[in-house]
Every structure is written in structure tokens, then in C-alpha cells.
Subunit: 446 residues, 2 copies
């Protein structure tokens, strides 16, 4: 029987290691029993399922055979440690698929019931990110009771699933009411986002008291995770909106091939690397004393649903497309340069080009960690592709990062003719759960 979760497993994430490289996660659950993987439970642990993990380093994770010796074959679809100083799913190498859900706390819920859900969510998240089932599983327990786990991920590996929680402004105060006694703990950086030029926000796709970002290399694993969390929260929290994504648009692993967005351009060439501890400290993690203590080591997440006017874009000449981005379409080289990663000469680009406007050199060195995904939600009533970019950005202080950047872009970016922001949300994502027994939001509610 294999357990892929061992202390010898190579840590996949910079943020889940101590400075000396020791993984902070442990192999053993609170009960002291080594957990079984979903694959081991149904007895086909030897078969590999390869899903998009190659090239991002996860294949380096080692497995152990029954005697504790490292198995020779690398495992794709490996596990990202859940416990750590920071939440995983932020600096973690971007997975291939996303299921993002915003939740509202129901009108009848109490602080106590919400805390109960957060505790149960944490346990379930630790299990699912470890490739295990929720509770006693989908096929065990009392036959007279519904299974604890919905079962559709039975037999699938962990698939680098990460679950990242965030708290929205309305959790701290809604319509002037301090529902859960949290008003005094709201971070100043967790502002109500201002209205930006050209915004056309759908309230049904915006906001939310809580969010969970599920990323995995297999959509079935990501969907399973959100579904089981929603189920655990039933009666206390309800899904307000959700978004599926694919084709990550911003890699956080510079050595990997830069992915392309649905406009056909490389996106995220100069993103913050998940392994760059200095840049993460400067731009992504909230530092001590910068806000309430519970946010130290956390990060602020801005989510924007950006619809692309695909059909219009597809009728735009190549030269104009390249002028709008300030890069060549094929190679992705900045204007006047040959290769994608050549240092851009911003003055060689049109003044309203996207890369020029968004570049750190045009913004006093400002950087955000982007983690966006493409989406395609079928077609709208006019037969047009309902598609675009689900933009996710993590930052140390939204007031000094996304807000000034977006004000600049919304005012001048040549891209605005082809895109529209139709959903928006802002969340404070606390520091990581450091060890079993702790729970999501403990420092906030505790």
C-alpha cells in the first residue's frame, strides 16, 4: 500500500519550506495513523495518470514503497503540502485548471456555525490536497447515511491540488452590520475596490464573504474539492458565484514555456517567480505590523472576470494586435528585440501598449503575482464566445498594487477596446495553516 505523503517527499513549494529547506508539512495526521491515498484505497496505485504536470517540477516528488524506500519512477499528479507558513496556491507553480468559488454566509448563520464550517473545511482541505477522501470516504461508513465524500475523485491522484481561502470585505461588515464581531479586525488594505473606467460589473459575478481557489492539474479534482466544501458548508455558506478556468495564463515558473491567453499572445513573461523569496517578500506577502496580525504572511487577492471580445479581436490585423501588446505574436519578443525574455525597450513600444503601461518600469517598480486562467463558458445569446481571462493577482497591499496599476490601464490601455471587466472581487488571504489541528481563519476568529 503506497502513501505518497511522506516526510521524505521533495517539497514542491518554496513557501512551504522553512528557510533551511525543511518541509513544514508532516506525514502523519493528528490521529497518528498514516493516511491512505485515494489511489491506494482502490488498489491501482501502480498506474500513472499523467496530466499536464511535466515541466513544472512536480515530477520530482518521490514516492515510497511499502518498506519506506524511494520508488524509482517519478510521480506526476503529485501532492503539494497543505501546511506551511504561507497558504499554498499562491507561490505554488501554477496548475493547469481552476475552480474558483465565492461564498456568502447565510443570513441565519452564527459566528459559531461559521467557525465550525471553517474547522471542517480545513480538515477536508488537508485530506483532499493529500489525495485522500473527505471523512470516512465515498464508499465506506454507514450504508444508511450519505457518504462523507462525493466520490468522483476516487482513484485520482492529488494532482497538485491546492486550496486557498480568502475573506471578503462583506464578511467584516455588510450593510453597516458587524455580523460576526469582525469589524475591528478588518485590514485597511482590504478596501472596497473603486470603480474603474470601463468597468461593467455583474453583481452576481462579483464580491463574496469568502472565497476558495481550487487549483489542480485535473479539473475533476478541482471541481470535486469545491463541491465537497460547498456540501460541508450547506446551510451556513452558499456559493455566490463560481468560475472554472483552464490554460493558465501566467506561469510562476520562469523556466517553463510561457502560456498564451485567448488573444493568442504570451502572457506573464515577467511574472514574479514562485521561487524568488525576495520578490515574494517585497510584493506578495503582507509583513508584520502592516495590518492586523492575522494577515502577517498572508496576501491580498484581486479576482477580475475579464471578458474578451473575441470575434472583434479575431478581425484585427496582426500589426495592430502586436501594437496593442507591444510584443510580437509568435515569439513574444518586446518591440525591437528578438527573444521573449530580452529586456524590453519600453520607448520602442506604442505609448498605449499593454506591456509598456503595465511594466514595473512604468509603475515605480510595482509588481503583482498573477495567477490567471483562461475561461470559456460556452456562447452568449448572440452566438459569441463567452470567453476571456479570469485574472487572479496576489499582492502585499492592494492599495499600492492592483489599484494604481488598474487605474493606469483602465485609463489608457489600447487593449480596452477588446476587453471588459465584468466581475470583480477582493479577498484577504491569511497566512498558512502551520500544522494539523489549526484551522483556516483561526487567527482571525480566535
Amino acid at each position: 500500500m503506497l502513501s505518497r505523503r511522506t516526510s521524505a517527499a521533495a517539497p514542491l513549494d518554496a513557501e512551504n519550506s522553512q528557510p533551511d529547506g525543511t518541509p513544514t508539512s508532516t506525514a502523519v495526521e493528528p490521529g497518528g495513523q498514516a493516511p491512505l491515498s485515494r489511489r491506494a484505497v482502490i488498489g491501482w496505485a501502480g498506474a500513472g495518470v499523467a496530466i499536464g504536470a511535466a515541466g513544472v517540477g512536480s515530477v520530482a516528488a518521490a514516492t515510497m514503497d511499502g518498506k519506506g524506500a524511494p520508488a524509482s519512477a517519478p510521480v506526476v499528479g503529485a501532492e503539494v503540502p497543505f501546511y506551511g507558513e504561507h497558504q499554498s496556491g499562491i507561490a505554488t507553480p501554477v496548475q493547469d485548471r481552476l475552480h474558483f468559488a465565492a461564498f456568502d454566509v447565510s443570513a441565519t448563520a452564527t459566528r459559531e456555525s461559521l467557525v465550525r464550517v471553517l474547522k471542517e473545511w480545513t480538515k477536508a482541505a488537508a485530506a483532499m490536497t493529500g489525495g485522500r477522501e473527505v471523512g470516512s470516504g465515498a464508499a465506506s461508513g454507514l450504508p444508511q447515511a450519505p457518504p462523507d465524500d462525493t466520490g468522483e475523485a476516487l482513484g485520482l491522484p492529488a494532482s497538485r491540488l491546492t486550496l486557498t481561502i480568502g475573506f471578503g470585505p462583506s464578511l467584516f461588515e455588510k450593510d453597516g452590520v458587524d455580523r460576526f464581531g469582525l469589524r475591528a479586525r478588518r485590514p485597511e488594505a482590504l478596501i472596497d475596490l473603486p470603480k474603474f473606467p470601463h468597468d461593467n460589473l455583474d453583481p452576481a459575478r462579483s464580491g463574496g464573504d469568502l472565497c476558495v481557489q481550487a487549483c489542480a492539474d485535473d479539473p475533476q479534482v478541482a471541481v470535486h474539492a469545491i463541491r465537497n466544501l460547498a456540501r460541508i458548508g450547506m446551510g451556513v455558506v452558499n456559493v455566490r458565484w463560481s468560475q472554472l478556468g483552464f490554460g493558465k495564463t501566467s506561469s510562476t515558473t520562469p523556466e517553463a514555456q510561457t502560456p498564451r491567453n485567448l488573444m493568442g499572445f504570451k502572457d506573464g513573461t515577467h511574472n514574479i517567480a514562485g521561487t524568488d523569496a525576495a520578490a515574494l517578500a517585497d510584493h506578495v506577502w503582507a509583513g508584520p505590523g502592516e495590518g492586523p496580525e492575522w494577515m502577517t504572511g498572508g496576501s491580498y487577492l484581486v479576482a477580475r472576470r475579464i471578458r474578451m471580445h473575441i470575434e472583434t479581436w479575431d478581425r484585427t490585423p496582426l500589426k495592430e494586435q502586436e501594437d496593442i501588446f507591444g510584443r510580437s505574436k509568435g515569439e513574444g519578443a518586446p518591440f525591437g528585440k528578438l527573444r521573449e525574455r530580452d529586456a524590453p525597450d519600453l520607448k520602442a513600444m506604442p505609448e498605449d501598449s499593454h506591456v509598456r503601461l503595465a511594466h514595473p518600469d512604468s509603475n515605480d517598480g510595482l509588481m503583482i503575482l498573477r495567477r490567471g486562467f483562461s475561461f470559456t463558458d460556452g456562447t452568449d445569446g448572440l452566438g459569441r464566445l463567452e470567453a476571456g481571462l479570469f485574472f487572479l493577482a496576489y499582492q502585499r497591499d492592494t492599495r499600492k498594487a492592483f489599484v494604481p496599476l488598474q487605474q493606469r490601464l483602465a485609463g489608457s490601455d489600447a487593449l480596452n477596446e477588446y476587453i471588459q471587466h465584468v466581475g470583480s472581487a477582493h479577498f484577504a488571504c491569511p497566512a498558512g495553516v502551520r500544522k494539523p489541528g489549526e484551522w483556516w481563519g483561526q487567527a482571525l476568529f480566535g
Copy 2:
């Protein structure tokens, strides 16, 4: 420079081989020039992108180096031959992702304009399934003109993309009008599907003059394909509805792990194998003289969007869930048996169980080739998961296969309490395009 398309490549599909095993596809395009792959064009052909192809045999496809010698490393994300006796995407080992689009021909279109689109579609389909760009590409051609290809699949391998075309009843006659002179060529088997008990069909998600099923191991490749076909068809055909799917629910490769549907049960244990030529001839391919000549070697496709009442299902006891399917949830063993593939004892199952009702032994040996995918389209207005099964089934004659089977299931299946059919369509998928220069629908229109 690598070209992954060579005559030495192992055929991936039973249906794309002649009876003696010779691949029917060729390595060279009509112009006589060996085509370049998208990957070769941008110069990173050495890097592998592994996406869900393991275990279904596609990794066996060989590549050639510049001197024509087989490369040693297998390629994941390989190519499925486009040309052949039958269309690919039917008996082809099921890929991981789906983008399905139904199109209507616009009111102003003529037979000539439709034929022009079908010819252009065929050329584009041959290029994209070969991992190449449409036309002159996304980053070449006149800078004053829009690129021929939208570009978001640049750098991605073919990813086992298949594109399968079908013709709906309304193409042959709509509101009593024979728009394209095709009425006399309508197959008798291409019936207007009857209304089944419990149907709750949304016209906006049903029907269509044409359909294209795009399957690939990478959603970006499948989405790219449908988008580029829609773009080519602009003004002549418009997307009527489309559906994205993931997590194939019915494997056509018996040796692979049987996938699970969103109810958490294994689905498709006894599906027709894509390699079982006898079963395919008996149940999937239309035979000579059974209908119009243009359908010989083709197949009839029924698409049903089946919404699952996920939240209700998740509250159902394990025993009841297993009674409804007639299988155990964990192993998938039929009642009274130990292993998934043990021959079922139908009498041991409840009379209204899904497996008992749908089994060939309960239906005079009737079999259909299922190729369904799970879908999750976010949440509905009540916060419920908008999710279920996008059922795709191919058969030799719908009147003798899906219709009697669904009449039986819709009348008695215990599953009906938890599902609802909300979309429906029927298409005649012609035989394959045998060689470059031929086009989709040539035998129908010719």
C-alpha cells in the same frame, strides 16, 4: 526541425487503418511539402507537455528526427490521423476534454457558401488535428490583415485533437423548406427524436443544423479548434449552442481505469472498445445499403445534456446510491460480485437499477458507443452546481439503439429522480475524409 506527422507513425485508431493495418493517412500535404508542426515552428520541439494521455496508448506514437530515424522518447500529446475510412473522434480512445458546438446555417447563406465553408473547415481540421496552425498561421502573413489562426494554441502539441462533423435533421428540412436541396438525401435513421418521459429540453441547448465535436487532451487545443472553425464560418454558420466537458465518463479503452461520473460511480465499464472491429461494425458504423450511400461508414450521434441534481444526490444514503446503479460505489462491482468487470448477475440487482435496465442482456443485445463527458457550468441562480453529464452516443441506427434504450430508461430508471435531460440533439456523422483534397460532406453535397 521535427515533423511528428510521418507515415511511420503508429496509427492510434483502429478505424484509421485499412484491414491489413496500413495507416490510411499520409505524411505529406497536397502541395508535396512536409507540414510543420506548431511546436516546430516556434522552436521548442524538444520539450514535452504531458497531458492526460498516459494509459490510452497514444504515447506509443513514434517521432522521427531530422534524418528520418525514429526518436527514442515517446511523445505524449500526439496526433490522431485525420484521414481514414471513418471519422476519428468516434472509436478513438476518449480524450480528456471536450468542446462541442452546434451550428445553424444563417438565413442568408446559400448551398454554395455552405459548401465553401465545409471545404475550408476540412482543410483547417486537417491542419489543427496535425498540430499545425490554420492557413498561414497566427504570426505570419500580411501585417495589415488579421492572422489566419487565432494563435492561442501556438506551441501546444496536437494533444490527440479530433474533429468530428455531423449533420442535423434541420439541415435537410427546416419548417418544411428544403433550403439546400438535401431533403431527398436525409437518412431515414436521422429521425426527429421523440419526446421522452421527464424530458425538460431547453431549445437554446438543443438541435442544430451542423455539429462539430472537438476532443483533445488539452482544453486550450479543443477550444482553439472550435473557435477557429466558428471564425471561418462567420456569416454562413453561427454557433447555436456549445458545451465544454471534462473527465470523460465512458472510456473506449477497456484496459484503462474506468472513469467516474459526477455521482461518484464508475461509468462505462462495458462500453464498446474502440479496437473491437466486430462490435463497431455491428453497433456503430452504418453499413452499405442501410441508408443513403453517403452515410456508409458513418454513425449517428445523439447528444443529451443531462443535468444532475447534485445536492440531492449528495444527501442520498450510500446503500440507496448503490441500489440505484446496481453496483458498489468503491470498486464498481455489480451486485453480488467482487470486481468491477465480473459478469453481472442482473437478477441480483433491483429491477429499476440503472445497470440492470441499460445492460445489453435486458435489451436484446443492444449496444451503443458512449463517449460522454462531465460538465460543470458554474452555479445556477439558487447556488446549486450547474453540473452533470454531457452524454454522447454513437450508433448504427438511432431508431434501434438510443430510442428504445432511452424509452426504457426514461420510464423506469431509479436514476430519474436525480437527473433531468435538459438538452438534446441528433446528427448524422458521415464516413471519414479519406485523403487530402476531399472534404467534409462531399458525398452528401456532391
